[in-house]
Symmetry: C2
Subunit: 334 residues, 2 copies
């Protein structure tokens, strides 16, 4: 029996997530049953998609359960195992609880080589966010040399990779981010042609007209709301939108004032496609081949924010939803 600390969903948020949506608990985990494995968490990934899971929406993943630990992509170490696939000391990646320790049935858990890269990279530039960026760029946006690609949340865990992959494909890449420091990093390190600060630029349309004089051929969409609206109006004929997320809408309780006007989709023969990377696990090997190679050759920059200690996860997550992180947000668990 092991003592664990875990964070449970205490309340479903209405609008902004607040601290009282979370509760830290000390629990004693039961002894391992056959097939189970006990994992001590080392890094927990915090991602915007967790916000919709906190509510009872009809969604692609079941909502988090009230009174149960939240879960997230994590890297950890096997401390005990009754599962023949795992041995004590293995480093593993998978969905673990927001917790010091998780009792896991082994499904979806896989071993990784801790010598390959820093552990947190498996949750970022070598992990799901990067796979998400790769899928959206390669399979939906399909940028051609000379085209203009827009990436909202340009320096986020997904956006920073999407922008760089579009750039490597020869596109002009323009993004937006919430802060001058992020915009400067996007241009200097990630190679964006331009990046504007959506916190200070109130006329998004005007800045897009200036930065994307040839219009926009593909949009890697993470934000939704007014930024998407302005981008949508500037999409060229045969434009593609890879709809990865819509973070500006997650906490917005305002009902839509009227039905959206959609004729532009016809006029310009647009394709708007929503996707969730877990539907495309079969392509993981292609991703690893391509992006793993780029990382090894130093052709893909990445930036992360590390928060120390599980207790800081709720505040870090609330900050993420307000864009306070810079790059991939992970929690280091002692």
């Amino acid at each position: 029996m092991t003592d664990a600390v875990q964070i449970v969903l205490a309340k479903r948020p209405a609008g902004d997530v607040t601290a009282d949506c979370f509760r830290e608990e000390k629990v004693t985990l039961p002894v391992l049953a056959d097939g189970e494995v006990l994992v001590r968490s080392r890094f927990l990934s915090l991602d915007p998609y967790m916000r919709p899971r906190m509510t009872e929406l009809r969604s692609y993943t079941p909502p988090f359960e009230l009174g149960k630990p939240l879960t997230g992509g994590s890297v950890g170490e096997v401390v005990d195992s009754k599962n023949p696939r795992f041995a004590k000391g293995d480093t593993v990646i998978g969905m673990l609880n927001w917790a010091s320790h998780t009792l896991h049935d082994g499904k979806g858990l896989r071993k990784i080589d801790p010598a390959l890269a820093p552990l947190s990279a498996h949750l970022g530039v070598l992990g799901m966010p990067s796979f998400t960026a790769w899928y959206g760029i390669r399979h939906i946006c399909k940028p051609k040399a000379g085209e203009t690609v827009f990436v909202s949340a340009a320096t986020g865990a997904v956006g920073q990779v999407a922008g760089q992959l579009a750039k490597l494909a020869g596109a002009r890449v323009v993004g937006c981010a919430g802060g001058e420091d992020k915009c400067a990093w996007a241009v200097r390190e990630a190679g964006y042609d331009a990046c504007f600060n959506h916190k200070t630029e109130h006329d998004v349309g005007a800045v897009l007209d200036k930065l994307c004089p040839q219009g926009i051929d593909a949009d890697f969409e993470n934000v939704g709301g007014r930024i998407f609206h302005a981008v949508f109006e500037r999409l060229n004929n045969f434009g593609r939108v890879a709809f990865c997320g819509a973070i500006s809408e997650y906490q917005d309780q305002t009902p839509m004032a009227g039905p959206p006007k959609m004729f532009t989709i016809v006029q310009r023969r647009l394709t708007l496609q929503g996707f969730i990377v877990s539907d495309h696990i079969a392509l993981m090997a292609d991703f690893v081949n391509e992006v793993g190679g780029l990382v090894k050759e130093g052709k893909l920059k990445s930036r992360e924010t590390v928060v120390d200690g599980l207790a800081g996860a709720p505040a870090a997550f609330m900050g993420l939803l307000k864009g306070e992180n810079f790059g991939k947000l992970v929690v280091r668990i002692a």
Copy 2:
């Protein structure tokens, strides 16, 4: 030299098209130059896409020019030719003026066999509207047996074919139309499983919940606005929308009150794809093979409204935009 009657664009509409947007003119056409052909119109097709062409929108087709004749898909008879591809007496199809006679350079004009089908059918069930329906169903909606397909403007020139093709693919097909007579025809003749009257059903969401208990897998969208909005909310995971038109938006001057909420596209991995059939002319032979065969076997019903006389075209077009036609709308030109 030939005397012709033609209808020109006298004024661009703001909001509803009004009678003073049109002007009938008598003109004397110049003598034929080399390569030209003089065509006497027999049938003129009136279609909703003409409405956006009356304004100066950034659009896929250049706007109609002020003071110049409007044009439309037409069937006519060659009365004189200095083009080696056409001889006097040929029956031809192509874009002609809203006019008794058109002087044409021959581009995009092609001969048809008048014995094959009634002339107006080449503008409907054997023509562009039907090709449009076929493209949207086969290449975007891709209905599978047991899925639910929704068709707005269910008995329009395009919708009536789209619904029947979806039905032949084994889908449950639900539509809406503006009138009890149209809805009855959709169910009895075109084989829709259900069709509701959007002029009397004010709670579109509730009626969709009743008629589409399994949700909606594909939407062949002709209407936009509140009907699309309700359909969109009921799309299943991996739903497809073939965006063919948005007639409810064409005359609506209300600006969008706020940015559309788009997260549903991600959650349900939707694909919204706008298309214009003229981009896909290369597939015309596939369409003719499949749909021509169905028409010959009597497996595809069609319904049309014929208006007599060019002078009636403006009023018929204004009625089309309000849904007053029943099926394909054509003008017979004396």
